[in-house]
Symmetry: C2
Amino acid sequence: MARTQQSRTFPQPGHNHDRCAVQALARAEALCDAKRLRFTSVRRRVLATVWASHAPIGAYDILAQLNAGGGRNAPMAVYRALDFLLAHGLVHRVASLNAFVGCAHPGEAHSHKLGSQLLICRACGSVVEFDGRAVSAAVARAAPGFAIESEVIEISGLCPHCRRLTRRKAIARD
Amino acid sequence: MARTQQSRTFPQPGHNHDRCAVQALARAEALCDAKRLRFTSVRRRVLATVWASHAPIGAYDILAQLNAGGGRNAPMAVYRALDFLLAHGLVHRVASLNAFVGCAHPGEAHSHKLGSQLLICRACGSVVEFDGRAVSAAVARAAPGFAIESEVIEISGLCPHCRRLTRRKAIARD
DNA sequence: CTCGTAAACGTTATAGTATAACGTATCAAT
DNA sequence: ATTGATACGTTATACTATAACGTTTACGAG
Ligand SMILES: [Zn+2]
Ligand SMILES: [Zn+2]
Ligand SMILES: [Zn+2]
Ligand SMILES: [Zn+2]
C-alpha cells in the first residue's frame, strides 16, 4: 500500500492528498456501517472538511466551508457533528489550538485509548499521531497513586520536512 | 521545610493553603526582583487570585475576583498580566481547560523548560506538576526527526486523596 | 404498514474565551 | 528635563462553545 495518512510519519509536502481524504471517508463509512451508526450528510461533510488537509481546523472554519456554497448551517450543526466524530474516534481535538484534525487510525487498537498523542508542525501545520505507548508508560510511572483517566499530549515543533527547509534558509543566509 | 505547594504531590484536602499562596507570592517577588521585572499591582493581584487554590481558574473568573470589591478592570488587564506571568514561568496555561494555574517551581531548573506537564484531578480540581523528564525522553524517542519546541502534557484522572474517597463510597454501597 | 420512540436536526439565543487597536500614564536612564 | 520603552485604560470586536426548544427523520415492534 502506498504511503497515505495511515502512516505515523509526516505527509510529504507535495503528496497526493486526495487519496488521504478519500481513504479517510471510506474508513469512516465502513466503521459506521459496522457499528450501525448513522453517517449522515452533515457528519460526512464535516469529516470531509476536516480531512481537507493534515492541519487542524477550527469549528467556525469548518462552518464556513460547509456554507461556502450558500448553505445556512448554524454552529450547532458543526459542533454536533464534531461531538459524534470525536465520540467514535474519527477526529481528534487539538486542545492547544482549539481545533480538530482527522484521526488516521479510527477503530484500530489505539495504544492511546486514553487520549490523543500528537506531533504538531508549527511551520506547515501538519499533525500526526505518534506511537505513544512508551510515553504513556512513562507517564504512569511518573504519577504513582494517580488514577489516569485521559491524556492530552500535544508536542509542537518542526516536522522533518520543514526542518530541512529551515536549515537550507539558514545556510543560504550565511 | 513543611510540605507546601513546593512538592510535586497532591495537596492534602485540609492543608493550610495560606502558606502556599504566601510563599508563591514571595517567590514571584524575589524572582522579579532578581530579573529586574516589574511586579506591578495588577500582576500581583492576578497571581494571588490564581493561587487562591490549586485548581485552575479561568481568565474571566480571575477578572471577577479582581473586580469583586468594585473594581473596573477590563479583560485585557487580566490577559496582559497572564501573558507576563506565563512568559516568566509564574503560571501555567491548562490548555485542556482554558484556564490557568500557579507554577509551584518558578525559576527552578524545570525539567520541563519546553512546557508544562500536569496532573489534573477531575474530582477536587487540584493540579500538580510532575517530574516529566522520563516522559520527555520517551517523547523524543517516539518522534525521531521531529524538532521538539514545546510540550503540552495534561493528564486527567483522580488524585490519591479523591481516589480513596471514591473507593470508600464504592465499598459503602455494597 | 402504522405506530411509538429515540436519534438527529434546525433555530435562536446566549455564554465563555481571547485579541486588536489606540491613546495615556509611568518608569528609568541619559 | 528629555526621551524611549514598558505598562496600563478603554472600547470594540473576534473567536469558541453550549443551552434550550421544537420539528423531522430513521427504524424496530407489533
Ligand atoms: Zn494527505
Ligand atoms: Zn512541517
Ligand atoms: Zn495549597
Ligand atoms: Zn482530587
